[in-house]
Amino acid sequence: MGRSDIGAATQRTPTTTRSNPARLATADAVLPPGEAALPRPSRPRLEARRWNKRTRRDALVFVAFAAPNVLLILLFTYRPLITNIYYSTLDWTLGAASATSVGLGNYVEFFDSPDASAVLGVTAIFTVTTVGGAMALGLLVALTLNQRLKGRTFARAVVFAPYVLSGVGVGLVWLFIFDPTYGVLSWMLRGIGQLSPQWVNDPKLALVMVILVYVWKNLGYCAVVYLAGLQSVPPQLLEAASLDGASSARRFVSIVVPLLSPTTFFLLITTLLSSLQAFDIIRIMTPSGNGTSTLIFDSYLQAFGSYNRAGYSAAISVVLFLALLIMTAVQLRFVERKVHYS
């Protein structure tokens, strides 16, 4: 599991550093020759000399190597989180030189308006259905790929491919397929005597459409991650259950599903985070956000659509960030406990 690995790796760092023979070897150079011949690992006297010349130079090297990246992350990833909170208290037109402070006015306005329930509702529907859909279909595809079939490596690559493609390009391809007059879908519907619905103009169907395309683009990711999980299920366990007379459905529910729970947990977190940030497909398929205004898209439309309402947009961004934060925290707190680790 990703999370537990991160923890394990973090704890490994100091050990690695301390027993790093490279550093010990150079430190030996400043010691008397007799000392240098002693066995290498863990020498308290070396540890005591924390700030000798060598460590100072190491510190300088560290700063030179890591500082550019760390400063960029601070400036463009962390700073915006704080600036957003400040902007969210302003009544400010994007591009205007001055702004008036309105305290929590933007939040009050958002939650008082009918927008809030619409936007939060659309976000919830989009997130739940895309996460559920991609994970369920991904598991089905993974179960198929887990059999010894010819061409399954090829199929795995094909199914994963949409995940690496531009959401804008993918969105356009599907917009053509969904076109009510010239699209393949309308042609197929005509074949069974049906008229194609107006996918883009009907707010409800527009949401269905972007959900379908988003699931199409992301299910390969879930499939590949689930496949790796399935391949770590010990075959002896399944064989033993099989000998005991367990049906394949029973083996799946009682053995495979519990053993997959760390994978499921990992996927739940990663797909939730990416679904809440889905932008490309929604923007290209439904530019006006009619029926598809999720938090992230509404925040974009408010600031960079026709309104230029920077303060209001920042408030929505803060709401989105809080939603992400709470969801991650809740998952870490409650879900992980119930997850089976082998």
Partner: protein, 293 residues
């Protein structure tokens, strides 16, 4: 991939029979083919449509193959918007952005693993948490900052805010931790400093991991949409995904599906080719951390 049809049945101790064959097809090959086709057909349709004449697209009587395949739609797209320029911009942004990001990731990961520093844990945690911060949330403040610095419609304005790399650093750090210490030891005896150890030992033995980071970075830089969309409004500075939006909104763009599919091909094909050639690295990079990290 290793098993044949016969192996798959006999491998589990079952005799080869028509019943088993039927089961393998119904439970294996049929869904496998379906999943593959569901992904493949829309992309094939895009490619074929981009080669069709307008009359073959604006029709309710669909044919799969173009009657007279031509590149007219590509020419139309290029004359409606500066597509060659979009392509060049995308290449510049992707190459420069990915190169710098990879170098930053290599340096940072090396420092985190091999260089002693008192606040290393804190710095690592900072980078780890940055992985979880949604980039979309930072768009407005970064726009205000970059616009204030005069970065709208410039290459550096497009590239700079995305340069800090938490993903690449994390992935390389995990890999560097697994390197055997003995190889660095011998270099140390030869009196090599950090610079030489990094470039002469650590980087050469880590090429597969660096390739993974590079490929994943290239893919995400090429596809990046929201930031270039906001930071450019001059066609000469737009990247391909932004330019594609421009094409949709152009006078001749609405419903001109042949031309729009040609545009989509230009955006998707380079990544599809890279993916086809190097999918092993890309898949492992993007699904990293899921099972064994």
């Amino acid at each position: 991939m290793s098993g044949t049809l016969t192996n798959s049945s006999t491998g589990r101790g079952r005799p080869l029979s028509w019943q088993n064959l039927g089961r393998t097809v119904a439970g294996g090959y049929l869904p496998l083919a379906m999943a593959t086709l569901v992904v493949f057909l829309p992309l094939l349709w895009m490619l074929l449509s981009s080669l069709k004449a307008p009359g073959e697209i604006v029709t309710t009587d669909l044919a799969l193959w173009p009657r007279n395949p031509s590149l007219q739609n590509y020419a139309d797209a290029a004359s409606t918007v500066p597509f060659a320029r979009f392509f060049l911009n995308s290449v510049i942004v992707t190459v420069v952005g990915s190169t710098i990001k990879c170098i930053l990731a290599i340096f940072t990961a090396y420092a985190l693993v091999f260089v002693r520093f008192p606040f290393k844990r804190v710095i690592f945690l900072l980078i780890l948490v940055a992985l979880m911060v949604p980039p979309q949330v930072s768009v407005l403040p970064n726009y205000v900052l970059i616009a204030g610095m005069g970065g709208l419609n410039t290459y550096w304005g497009i590239i700079l805010p995305g340069l800090g790399t938490a993903f690449g650093t994390f992935l390389l750090r995990q890999h560097f931790l697994t390197l055997p210490q003995a190889i660095l030891e011998s270099a140390e005896i030869d009196g090599a400093g950090h610079w030489r150890k990094l470039w002469k030992i650590v980087v050469p033995v880590s090429i597969p991991s660096i390739a993974t980071v590079a490929l994943v970075t290239i893919v995400s830089e090429w596809n990046e949409y929201i930031w270039p969309l906001i930071v450019t409004d001059h066609p000469d500075m737009m990247t391909l995904p932004v330019g594609l939006t421009q094409l949709v909104n152009s006078d001749g763009g609405t419903q001109n599906w042949g031309m729009l599919m040609a545009g989509a091909v230009i955006v998707l094909l380079p990544i599809l080719i890279i993916f086809a050639a190097l999918q092993r690295y890309i898949v492992s990079g993007l699904t990293q951390g899921s099972v064994t990290g």
